[in-house]
Every structure is written in structure tokens, then in C-alpha cells.
Amino acid sequence: MKSIFRLSFLSIIFLVQINFGFSQQKILIYMDIPQSDHLKAYGIAYWSLTKGFDVDWLLNYRGGSFMTSYSPVVENECRVRGVAFTAIDGSTAAQIYAEVQTADNNMDVIKLEKAPKIAVYVPPNFQPWDDAVTLALEYAEIPYDKVWDEEVLKDKLHEYDWLHLHHEDFTGQYGKFYAQFSTFPWYIQTQAMYEAKARELGFKKVSDMKKAVARTIKDYVAQGGFMFAMCSATDTYDIALAAENTDICDVMFDGDPPDPDCQEKLDFSKSWVFENFKLVKNPYEYEYSDIDMTPTLGGRPDGDYFTLFEFSAKYDPVPTMLTQDHVVVIQGFLGQTTAFRKSLIKKSVTILAEKKGTDEVKYLHGNFGRGTFTYYGGHDPEDYQHQVGDPPTDLSLHKTSPGYRLILNNVLFPAAKKKQQKT
């Protein structure tokens, strides 16, 4: 019996060696606790792809490690960026691949093919520290372009594989900051700039322009794009889709009152994630709807943790990729939209992380057409209660941030080669 087992194990190694052809040395960038800089490790994976090196993503193996062909250039770059790695010989690599491929292990190998081209949807006066994703991209040294309404509406999105939505308000209510900030220069400037852009692009209202942008993004995803949204870009995007045929903006936002029947006129068949939500119509209230669960939290980090779900790496590679992390329980963080009310989430959506024992969903994923979307609640994973005007987070002090890793999983996920789904 033992010899049969040994024989089959060797056969696996042999087959894997044939499949992957790694008689040569490899570099293993492990992603479990000993990794010195998880965030820059994603940058190394991305950089390796741009330089033509093969990169395999070993799902659930040591926190979702990366394996590349050995090269002194890669090795040196890892050192320069402070990313821990191990140079391994061909047979050790073969053993790792065999372990990952073994049916009993909830692991899999995903081949990353090309560095995805990244666009971040941000207004022209944006600063990198306004947004966790751009912070992460800058820190990981992953290049990105900025796009805004004009570029989106002029069909530039098809040039990109991955689109991140800044904590934008797609409902056209300027973040619902009116009560607190309407006299502040930044608010006045934002409103003036948005209105001018809407006029320039032929829209009477900013809310109409934002709806058009939301529709264009929807088309982009339908055609195979990857969309990732954080904070208020999540619920406002869905609200904008559902509110396509009604006016939910009050007079201070768009110059006329909202449709008195706007709640009833919401079309939940058009939204991706949420249904049956109730709008917060009060323009002075800093909330869009009952989707967000921020108000139910006490604004205290104690006890605010969310838990990642575990998925079958071999059968559900996409959610598995999105939840690769070195820990499964992660410190929560607030945002204008912090967490999503589970009872309002459509059945078609995959929940990736939630706060156990509550109705709060932190992280979710779904498909639309040929593309996918991911929503991640909260503003900055390493600044529990980020406020307007707060200083930027220095990611060199949070090199191993599990919350930021989830963002970077999304960045690399479009690089994955689509595999035949196991049946």
C-alpha cells in the first residue's frame, strides 16, 4: 500500500514536472506571516509579468504565494523592494507544485499571464492619499492611469483590463457632505468643477452625467472588464444603476426637488448587488440608503473584525484568489460606506467576507456579462476612522497589512489565465 502511494506521489511529481517544465530553479515569494512586505510582493509579481517572467499564483499555499522562474534580476528586485523570498531548486519546486495540485489540499496553481492595464477613476484634483487603492498601487509600484467622467464617456475604458472606482458618489449628491461641508472651499470647488464638466459633456445635471458614467462602466464590465469599488463608490454605483429612471437628488444638488416617488421607481433589476434598499432622502443626512451599516457600528476598533470565507481553490478559483491572505480575521475599518447589509444583497452575489454574527458584509464579488465586479466596504484598511483632511497613511508602516492585501488581490486577479472550470 505504502509503495503504491509512493509510486503515485512520484507520478504526480513527474507529471507536474512535465506540465510545468521546471527542471530549472524557481523563486518562491511566500505570502504567509514571515513575508516582510506583502504589499510590495504584489508589485514584484506585477513587475515580473511586465518583464516577461512567468508567475504562478499558488492559491492557499503559504498565504497565496507567488512562484517565478529563477532569475538573478528577479532575485535582486525582490531584495531591493524588501520582499522576502526563497530561491528553490527544481525538485523542491516540483514538490510544492505537487502539494498544491493534490486533490486533498484546498490549493491550486493559477498562471498569471500578463500585467493588467489599470485605470483608476478619480477627479482631476485628486491626491493619491485620498484613496486606499491608489495608495496601495503607489506603494507596490504598480503603474496606473487616471480616468474620469470624460474619458469614461469617450469610451476609453476598453483600453484597460481593470478599473477602480474611487470613493465617488455616483448618485450626483456630492458625497452627501452638504450639511457639514457646503461652505468649505473644497466642496464648492468640487461642485463647480462637476457642474462645469456636466455642462461641457452635454448634461443638464451632474446626476445625469454620473448615471451615464455608471451605464458606461456597466457596459465595460459586461464586455469583460474587471471593476473594483471601495467605500461609497460601491453603494452609490448600485443606487445610480437602480435610479436610472428617476430623480433622487434634492434641490441643492441638481437644482430641482427629487421625484416624490423615487423610492418606488427604483428598478432593482438594473442594480448588480443590492435590492429592496430604502433611500435616505434627507439631503442633510450623511447617508445614501440603508445599504450601508456604518451607523450601527460604534466607531470603535475594539471588536470590529471581519472574517474571510474559505472557498474551494480548485472549484472556485476566483473567490479564492480574491481572498488570499495570511490571516482570515481582519481588523475592520470605517468609511462613508463601511459594510453592506446582508439582507439587501442579491442571491447571485458571492460574499467574500463578513462580520461574524452580524448582518454586515464587508467584501463581495459577482459576475456581470463577461466581466466581474468586487465591492469592498470602508475607506482605508489601516486608518480606522479616516476623516476628510486626515493625513495620508504611510504604507511603509503597514507592509504586511491584510486589509490592503485584499485590494491587491483584485489588481492581480485580472492577470490570471482563465482555466477550464472543474466539473
Binding site: R79, G82, W186, A192, P260, N282
Partner: protein, 624 residues
């Protein structure tokens, strides 16, 4: 505030009960409260019903009219609203507010021409009434019709015969269209007539300064206005302020020169500007401004200050260009410690300070100049006698006039550098007893006294003094105290002998007797080969060789160390120093890059790896 259905029901029942009350006014009041309650609850249909009822009872009541109008508006029942307003106009044909509302209703029905016609009817009631134009502009803004708002405001201005009427409103409406040039022209016109509004104009400009092209447009318009109005000082203040907002201190300086002349202020304006430029670290411009004041207005009471700060700027600029000084901004360490390299530039500053000290011997500025001379002579030239002489002559008076004991502390440092340890100790102790000391200064002096003990191999005394400093994490000196404590504790076993030698070498190093210090370190290496401190002796020896310009020798020392001590915990430091030598002294960037990379490879967990990475990136960019 939100009302619950329960509360609304109670109010409804209450209203039904009270509706049977005999007094009609009470009934109406209750109905009105009810209507308001529904309105606040966002139940506009019900509110509308009640307001209609009330309005039918008393069509002249302005509150009922307003409630009904709001309800129609919120429910977007624009045709009904239009009919209602037209009916109202028949009763109150002179009420311009109704026309204003009517225009808005038409506009929201997408009947723009009718909207403008309604507003025109309001104007025609009394074309000279400027309030009408303001009212219509507000309506236009509410409807996001900023161009119409400007139009009405300008017509109102013409009707009122006042060219400054509505300036802030017109400007704001222009800004909302991102027409910054036009907005700025309004503010310029306002300032031409009313210079006292400068502060308000600056405040308004900040509202759009953050928008793309906003501040550029403001600068452009104000510059043109300054050319058109050559005698207007207010415009120049605005221009200078705009330039400084953009950190363009050169332009601001030019403008302040004009202002100073126009105001006949004898340099006061330029002095204020120079101080701000200095505080903002724009030393080159500050230097020019101080120099100008010092030359042209030296007889004014601020003349000496201008002279001093002119030289102070020169000193700072010299320091920025001084390769012997560590610059945290560029992240580069000194290329060499040879003081001769710094001589010419600092010599100029010292000579100018000497002039000031001579001219103003008892003035705070003269005493400050003497302190700077002592400081430069000691730190830049290591002229201990020269520094001591001038500090001893001036420190006491300086301390009495300014309350600053820096000069007294520096005297102690100089005694130490001269090897006069007893005098140094006396001096530090004397300063310690002064009541003017800040807590930081007091802690610094305790540390200096502990250092003296260390140099004299009185290790227990040193540790005793360092102990309270090490545990006080709020003290600036805590880290230094902790390092010295650990150094002493770690190297006393099994015997004090090598540490005594090492402390002696450290004293020589402080006295810049590098050869003597290196010789003692060599003795430690030879005589105490198994002492822990031998490793550090190599590293420090190389550093001393480098400081005395013997870079080849330093390279050799570090390489010998790396070969001979494969297990030393200081290998990463040696590797780093080696790379730094190649980078900054030998100027061999390729070799330096290679060595920093080797450091990362061989010592991935070194505390120096972060700095090594930073330097690799710097060298890579430099190689591009």
C-alpha cells in the same frame, strides 16, 4: 427630525378633535401645524391636501401660500404650480417673488423661454429696483443657470447706477462657470474702488484657488491690472499674496519692492516680506530682501536685524551647498569631513558677522552675530581658540538679553574638544544651575556630563547619570542615553580595559585627533583580540580614516574586517560603510550599487536595509 406614523396619527386625532372647536383660528392653527408636520415628514401629498384646505380658507395668508407652493414644487406638480402662481399674480400683480417662482416652475418644466419671460415680467414692474435683479439671480443660481444669474446681476448693477453692486455675487456666479478671469476682474474692480476689501477678496479667491487654472487666472488678471493701474498699491498686495500662495517668492519680492517704494515705508514692507520668506525657507529671496533693507534703510531701527538676517541667509545657503554637512532632504551624507572644503564660503559669512558684531557690540543682533561666529568657527573650522574667545566675550550678555544659554553650553563643548575636561565639567555644571534652562536643555547637559564620565572611564558614574535619561521616553536625548548605556554595559565584561581604551579613542575623535584615535583603536585590535569591542574598533577606525581623507586606507580596513570577521554582528554596518565610501568618496556609483545590493542579499534583516534600498533607488535614478 422624523415623525413616526404613530405621532402623526395622534396629531391627526388631535386635529379632528380640535377642528370641532368653536374658534376658527384655533382650527386653522392646528391644521397648519399638521400640514407642517406632514411636510417635515416628507409626506408631501398629505401636506398638499392640508395646505390646499387652508389656502381656500384664507387665500391672503402668506404662510398657506408658501406651504402650498412648496408642496407643488416638491411633488413636481409644475402645471398645477404654474396655474396656482398665475392665479396669485392676478391677486398680487406687484409681488415680484411670485414671478420669480413662476419662472423657476417654467424652467423645471423645460419651458425656458416662458421662464425668462416670467422673470422679465418681474423686472418690468420696476426696472430700477435692484432687489428684483438680485432675487432673480438667486432663482437662476438655484436652477444652475449661472450665466443668467450674471446677466441679471449686471443688469441690476446698471439699473442701480452702482458699478460695484453685487460684485461678490457676480464673481461667485462666474466661478461657478469656471470663468476665473471674469471673476477676478470683478474683484479687481472692487479693490480699485474699495481697497479695504482686500482681505475679503483674498478669502474669496481661496474658494476657487484649488480648481485647475483658478489661481493662474487670478495671477494673470491681477498682473494685468497692476500694469493698468501703476499707482495702485492694493492690487500689488494682492499680486504679492497670490505669488506667495504659489510659493513664487521671487515675483512676490519684485512686487514688494514696488509696494515699499509706493508706500514710502522705508523698508518695513520688505522686512515683513523677508521675514516671511525666511520662515518659508525661501532663503535666496529672503537674502535679497534683507540685503536691500540693510543697504537702503540701515538707519532704521530694523536695519541691524536686516543685516544680521542677510548674513544668516548666506550661512544657510552655504550650509545647503556644503558637502560636509548632512542634508536630510537629499538623503546624502557628507562626501568628506575635511573642514578645508568649507572654508571659503563660511569665511565670507563669518567676516560679515564680524562686521555686524563690530558695528553693534551691545545690540542683541551684534551678540547673536558673535554666537554665530563662535558656532561656525567651532563646527565648521574647528577653531576652538577662536570660537572660545568670542563666545566667552559675548555669551553672558547674550544670555542676559535673550535668555538663551546656547553659547554657554557651546563653551563647555569647546573645552571638551580642547581636552580640558575639568573645565568642560565646571562649565556644564554652571549652566545646569541656571534657572533659565528648558527641560530639554537640562537633560542635554546631564548627558554631556555623563559623556565626560565615560571619556574619563568613570563608567559607573556615567551609567548613574544616564539612567534617568534612558527611561524618560519623552526626552529628546533618551535614545542617545540608551545607546551609550548599552555600549558601556555590553563592553565591560570580562574587563574594563578595552572599553577604557575605546573611550579614550572616542575622546580623541571628539577632539578631531583622528590619527591618535585610530592608533588607540589599532591597539585594541592587537592587544584585546577577543574583546567584543574589537569589531566596533574596526568600523570606527575606518570611519576615522575616512574623516581624515585616507579613503584607500578606510576601504582596506573595512575589507579586512569583512574578511577576518565572518561571524561579526557588525558586518552589515561594514558592508554599508564600504558601499557608502564608494558612493560618496570614490564616486564609483556602479560599485556602490553592487555593494548595497550585496548588503540586501547577505543581510536581509539588517536595520540598514531600508536605507540601502533608498540609496539603490537613488543610484538607479542617477544612472538613468
Amino acid at each position: 427630525m422624523r415623525y413616526t406614523p404613530g405621532l402623526i396619527n395622534i396629531l391627526t386625532i388631535f386635529s379632528l378633535i380640535t377642528s370641532r372647536a368653536p374658534a376658527q383660528s384655533i382650527d386653522e392653527q392646528n391644521l397648519f401645524r399638521l400640514a407642517q408636520t406632514y411636510e417635515q415628514a416628507g409626506q408631501w401629498e398629505t401636506a398638499l391636501r392640508y395646505y390646499k384646505d387652508l389656502f381656500q380658507r384664507q387665500p391672503a395668508n402668506a404662510n398657506y401660500f408658501e406651504g402650498l407652493r412648496r408642496s407643488y414644487t416638491q411633488l413636481k406638480k409644475y402645471p398645477e404650480l404654474v396655474a396656482f402662481l398665475e392665479g396669485r399674480i392676478k391677486i398680487f400683480p406687484q409681488d415680484i417673488m411670485i414671478y420669480a417662482y413662476l419662472g423657476s416652475a417654467f424652467f423645471r418644466m423645460e419651458r425656458e423661454d416662458d421662464a425668462y419671460a416670467a422673470w422679465e415680467r418681474a423686472i418690468n414692474i420696476n426696472p430700477l429696483n435692484t432687489s428684483t435683479y438680485r432675487l432673480l439671480a438667486d432663482q437662476a443660481i438655484d436652477n444652475k443657470l449661472y450665466h443668467k444669474a450674471v446677466e441679471y446681476l449686471l443688469r441690476g448693477r446698471k439699473a442701480g447706477g452702482n458699478s460695484l453692486l453685487f460684485v461678490p455675487d457676480v464673481a461667485r456666479a462666474y466661478v461657478l462657470q469656471l470663468k476665473f478671469d471674469d471673476a477676478m476682474q470683478e474683484y479687481v474692480n472692487l479693490l480699485l474702488e474699495n481697497p479695504a476689501s482686500l482681505g475679503e477678496v483674498e478669502r474669496q479667491i481661496t474658494q476657487f484657488a484649488g480648481l485647475p487654472h483658478g489661481i493662474e487666472a487670478a495671477e494673470r488678471v491681477v498682473k494685468d491690472a497692476c500694469e493698468d493701474h501703476r499707482n495702485n498699491v492694493t492690487l500689488r498686495y494682492l499680486r504679492a499674496w497670490l505669488a506667495m500662495e504659489r510659493k513664487n517668492y521671487n515675483t512676490a519680492y519684485e512686487v514688494y519692492q514696488e509696494i515699499d517704494e509706493m508706500q514710502n515705508s522705508n523698508g518695513v514692507e520688505l522686512m515683513n516680506f523677508a521675514r516671511r520668506a525666511f520662515d518659508e525657507k525661501s532663503y535666496d529671496v529672503a537674502m535679497k530682501a534683507f540685503q536691500h533693507v540693510a543697504k537702503k534703510h540701515h538707519d532704521q531701527h530694523y536695519g541691524p536685524e536686516a543685516e544680521f538676517f542677510f548674513v544668516r541667509c548666506i550661512e544657510v545657503i552655504n550650509e545647503q551647498n556644503d558637502s560636509t554637512v548632512f542634508h536630510s532632504d537629499s538623503g546624502t551624507k557628507p562626501t568628506s569631513y575635511a573642514s578645508t572644503e568649507a572654508v571659503p564660503s563660511y569665511a565670507g559669512a563669518i567676516s560679515l558677522y564680524e562686521e555686524i558684531a563690530y558695528t553693534y557690540p551691545k545690540h542683541p543682533v551684534g551678540l547673536e552675530a558673535k554666537y554665530r561666529i563662535g558656532y561656525l568657527k567651532f563646527f565648521r573650522f574647528f577653531d576652538t581658540d577662536g570660537a572660545m574667545s568670542i563666545l566667552q566675550e559675548s555669551s553672558e550678555l547674550r544670555r542676559r538679553l535673550t535668555g538663551n544659554p546656547d553659547g554657554d553650553i557651546l563653551i563647555g563643548d569647546i573645552f571638551l574638544a580642547q581636552g580640558k575636561l575639568d573645565q568642560a565639567r565646571d562649565q556644564y555644571q554652571r549652566v545646569t544651575s541656571m534657572p533659565i534652562l528648558t527641560p530639554n536643555q537640562a537633560q542635554l547637559l546631564t548627558f554631556k556630563l555623563a559623556e565626560l564620565d565615560y571619556f574619563e572611564a568613570k563608567f559607573d558614574d556615567a551609567l548613574q547619570k544616564l539612567q534617568p535619561l534612558s527611561v524618560n521616553s519623552n526626552a529628546d536625548i533618551a535614545n542617545d542615553a540608551l545607546l551609550l548605556s548599552l555600549h558601556i554595559i555590553d563592553n565591560r565584561k570580562p574587563t574594563d580595559a578595552p572599553l577604557k581604551e575605546y573611550a579614550h579613542a572616542a575622546l580623541f575623535e571628539r577632539q578631531r585627533k583622528y590619527s591618535e584615535a585610530a592608533a588607540i583603536l589599532q591597539n585594541i585590535i592587537v592587544n584585546f583580540p577577543s574583546a567584543i569591542i574589537v569589531d566596533r574598533s574596526y568600523i570606527i577606525r575606518a570611519s576615522l580614516e575616512r574623516k581624515s581623507g585616507q579613503s584607500t586606507q578606510a576601504l582596506e580596513t573595512l575589507q579586512t574586517f569583512l574578511t577576518k570577521f565572518p561571524e561579526s554582528i557588525l558586518r552589515d554596518q561594514a558592508q554599508f560603510d564600504l558601499a557608502e565610501l564608494y558612493q560618496t568618496t570614490c564616486h564609483d556609483k556602479a560599485r556602490a550599487l553592487e555593494l548595497y545590493q550585496t548588503l540586501l542579499k547577505d543581510f536581509p534583516n539588517s536595520l540598514l536595509s531600508g536605507e540601502a534600498r533608498r540609496r539603490i533607488l537613488f543610484l538607479r535614478q542617477a544612472n538613468l
